[in-house]
Symmetry: D3
Amino acid sequence: MSALIVINPNSSQTVTDGIDAAVDPLRAFGVPIRCLTLAEGPPGIESQMQADLTIAPMLKLAAAQTDAAGYVIACFGDPGLHALRDQTSRPVVGIQEAAVMTALTLAQRFGVIAILPASIPRHLRAFGAMGVLDRLAGDRALGLGVTDLADPAKSRDAMIATGLRLRDEDGANVLIMGCAGMAQYRQSLVDATGLPVVEPTQAAVSMALGHIQLNLSHTQKRATHA
Amino acid sequence: MSALIVINPNSSQTVTDGIDAAVDPLRAFGVPIRCLTLAEGPPGIESQMQADLTIAPMLKLAAAQTDAAGYVIACFGDPGLHALRDQTSRPVVGIQEAAVMTALTLAQRFGVIAILPASIPRHLRAFGAMGVLDRLAGDRALGLGVTDLADPAKSRDAMIATGLRLRDEDGANVLIMGCAGMAQYRQSLVDATGLPVVEPTQAAVSMALGHIQLNLSHTQKRATHA
Amino acid sequence: MSALIVINPNSSQTVTDGIDAAVDPLRAFGVPIRCLTLAEGPPGIESQMQADLTIAPMLKLAAAQTDAAGYVIACFGDPGLHALRDQTSRPVVGIQEAAVMTALTLAQRFGVIAILPASIPRHLRAFGAMGVLDRLAGDRALGLGVTDLADPAKSRDAMIATGLRLRDEDGANVLIMGCAGMAQYRQSLVDATGLPVVEPTQAAVSMALGHIQLNLSHTQKRATHA
Amino acid sequence: MSALIVINPNSSQTVTDGIDAAVDPLRAFGVPIRCLTLAEGPPGIESQMQADLTIAPMLKLAAAQTDAAGYVIACFGDPGLHALRDQTSRPVVGIQEAAVMTALTLAQRFGVIAILPASIPRHLRAFGAMGVLDRLAGDRALGLGVTDLADPAKSRDAMIATGLRLRDEDGANVLIMGCAGMAQYRQSLVDATGLPVVEPTQAAVSMALGHIQLNLSHTQKRATHA
Amino acid sequence: MSALIVINPNSSQTVTDGIDAAVDPLRAFGVPIRCLTLAEGPPGIESQMQADLTIAPMLKLAAAQTDAAGYVIACFGDPGLHALRDQTSRPVVGIQEAAVMTALTLAQRFGVIAILPASIPRHLRAFGAMGVLDRLAGDRALGLGVTDLADPAKSRDAMIATGLRLRDEDGANVLIMGCAGMAQYRQSLVDATGLPVVEPTQAAVSMALGHIQLNLSHTQKRATHA
Amino acid sequence: MSALIVINPNSSQTVTDGIDAAVDPLRAFGVPIRCLTLAEGPPGIESQMQADLTIAPMLKLAAAQTDAAGYVIACFGDPGLHALRDQTSRPVVGIQEAAVMTALTLAQRFGVIAILPASIPRHLRAFGAMGVLDRLAGDRALGLGVTDLADPAKSRDAMIATGLRLRDEDGANVLIMGCAGMAQYRQSLVDATGLPVVEPTQAAVSMALGHIQLNLSHTQKRATHA
């Protein structure tokens, strides 16, 4: 039986494990979900350069999954999303794109919690390409250093503080977690802000499973493998 | 076990049957899907007035489904979408909104096949409210009279002709069927145009099932019933 | 002689009386203006559900005014605006739409004073449908509870405080009162902020009178009654 | 009794006479309307340079009207609109701005009939500054030479042909006549296209009369003269 | 040898001298650059009226430069930009337009430092006409009175404070100095904010020199003089 | 003396030679311009996958140019633009971005001549990220097969035909050649359409030379090499 392949393009198995746990409720839909770590990726993706350099090995890893029913690229920034669509006719979903489209069905204006300030211009380019800037309330970074990010309590507190600013200063009605591997904080964020919170790997896997089931892809070509 | 409730707000059981068939592949996800006809609705919804007047009985019908895990409003125009969200804390998905958000994950510019010319301004208001007009390639009506619409071959041919104009004159890369109950023509449209085609009730049910599974709603309130 | 019909879709005669006083200067134009209260409406409209449920009785009330030269729907949110346009060929003006279009002739960016925070997403959907979000400086709620809203001094002070924030933090150059029945505070708001202030029922009645005089309607059909 | 001053910034008295006739129905509102010709203007305004050069004499002519209750600048292009607002605290309405805002209360997408192709980039700059491009269906020129424009039958026929293309090819739901002095063709255009048609001097005078009556201006300053 | 003509439309020779110094590094490109003061201009341009009234004498001054290879209009507001393009077939660049287009090649969102609060609506109209509002982070005025503006230290400090607010509160990634004649503060602003800073006369002269060299103009007409 | 480095990311020396000739007039500005071919690139870049895969070798090639004063990435699509900005503090200009920003200083609406239909969605994503879609008139492909593209007369004729459609059907006022290496057809296109035509490598080199001379970069960091 073919599977949905979720590729974490950074090399952190911890992040992949977090993704695997986050999407576990969707295994009830009956399609196997296999989460892979890109060994060639950096430990974390912090720049456009790092993101772009994951594309070549990611395409190879994707091509090697001969039982793929579809793919999710699990980095907020969707590196290689369109390249993989050039390579395969299977459904390919990026977590950034899926998170935004999901948020837009939940409330009027979305706020994004970025890990790093330097990510924000990348996000804005992507939201502009998606044509959804009129729905953006704000995009704010956690403002944590590397050490603090390794501390779950500090990360959770910073997420909540950032979510509250997005709600109260920017007018966000729904929050998007701007990173894979943070699903463990989703409920805390819901509880603290009273807003719906979209965890992007969950959103992407949910959409990808629907696309697979409905035979919805970016191309009508139905090639032998990809 | 609670069910996803799909409400067809017009009174045509034929349309409801078409919706039921269209979403059948998604029953594999394990959540019961129950498609209801709004007896108080008009035979077809052709104006904003008709759409608005379905809201009151639709809200009652929705409230009576005590086992609802979530709702889909199955009229392209999403009448009562936000009203039902005011009434219930369960996920509520409109087929127009879901079709657009799904199309935006498939290709850059979407074209819409409207049944009637008079629907187009309504669509444009909705796409403006969604903030997605930069992604719209075009919205064109079939140009069929009532008699012709009852003829499947003529409907299919008009859909294909309209889809080809959206592709060739307007630059659409993905098509949205701007009506519930037309799923039977989806594959013909894919075959003739080579473009991905979004059938809106499929898109909405797929998103709603994901929302239910992920506990994603427009509000964090988790009231006893709705 | 036919009259302009202004329908307050909530059931508060006090609000209707306030509207009647607000539009009184426009009676100098020579067209009778008749302000009606929708008995079936809620005391105040606070949700999309409440707004949508006024449409059916509003349409009946409108149809019963056999001497109507045109209509104004006097709820910020314009419930039933397009439905009434489907029912009648007479000019129909919504106070939200008219207030925005009027503000856009007065200054570059408009700020909106909302009564309740929950109204803001509704406003944003409407401004998106109108295609005017690039001109929006901000939309802020008064932040008053029900008791305080009944206190004129507190309401005025909250309006002024909100207007000053829209001017100073959001860059608004013109203010819109986001509610019918607040015209009594307009001059105080002008005096305190130094900005032009648009009271929406005044703006709508003014536009409707012009439309009537110029024979301008959404449709060229000139049916016997409506 | 003070009067609304309508300034035609070209030197054609014929155009001024056409404007005077067009706005005549609005004299029923009780405010005197005085239409002036700018002697220093060119016979017709065909370029941005010509438009800009009318501003200095127009400001002088405006200042000389000591009984002005407000002003309308009657050239589609609104030359000197903001300059006059810097000079006076009375309401100042431009016919282009008023025509657009009026059209937006009548239908979803507006089409503009331009006299000359070279006017279209100017219009688009103005619509961009107004922030209303999402509502623009199209802007098309008549395609007539000078001789043909002097022929009423040819002008009317070209207007109708252009209006039909805006409706049928561009999807316009309401038409704006992109020029002062063409009011005589309005009804023919309505009859031929079935669309509402906005004549810009009518729209502007209507809005200006409302602004005067409601004491609505771009500034709250109420200086002695202007 | 023909020269690039830079016209300062205010009558301050000090400002012209500042522009001359700012663009001096671009003389290395080999094209003579001649900076002129408009004697008929006001000492400083503070309103749209003042800006518009410079157009007539500016056009004359421009026409008198018989050796012009191209023109830069050196007032942030670009008065007469399109009028001069109507008069000449040589390249004409406005400093506002060039500053924005240059900033857009440096970072995602631009912030503008305005001299006066009243300039901001003018800027917003211009950015709307340019269609770049999605890239605008914010536009903030220095908040200095006339006396303080004459004090270099106070001007520099206010520029830095404003730049920091644009960066930290509005999310600007690049700054534009919204005035000619402030180039002396550019490096201080870069040092204090860590952001790229666009001085508009430099940006405009740079673009104009390229246009001249590449034979790029708004029109292909290559008339004898202009 | 340091040089501006222009990298053609495809492996065609013929294309590089065409770029070198196109930018030759700008050598008069005094800065050496060195055009390089990316040996690892494909013969032509036709998909997002091909574009993305050039980034890694392009970054290496760029880093090896130790005398770089700045860089131009000479593929319409700007692959690796932001990655190279992460790697170096020197000015980096993409030809797509520069062509658009240059076109926006020449006329109101730009039309793009694409080589292949499949490029258009990529262009639209880029224009959306740039926030300039309101200025886009249209983007049309040449519609030539590989054989025809090798024939200069057929290429020129197709360019002219496409340019005329962009002008006449889409309302373009300026044209952008959506490909590097086509500069030889620029004058023919100007002559046939009467519109200004932007050749993207010329536009990019012109902007890059200005950025270098003015010390304008995406970052204020002035590191030892890059």
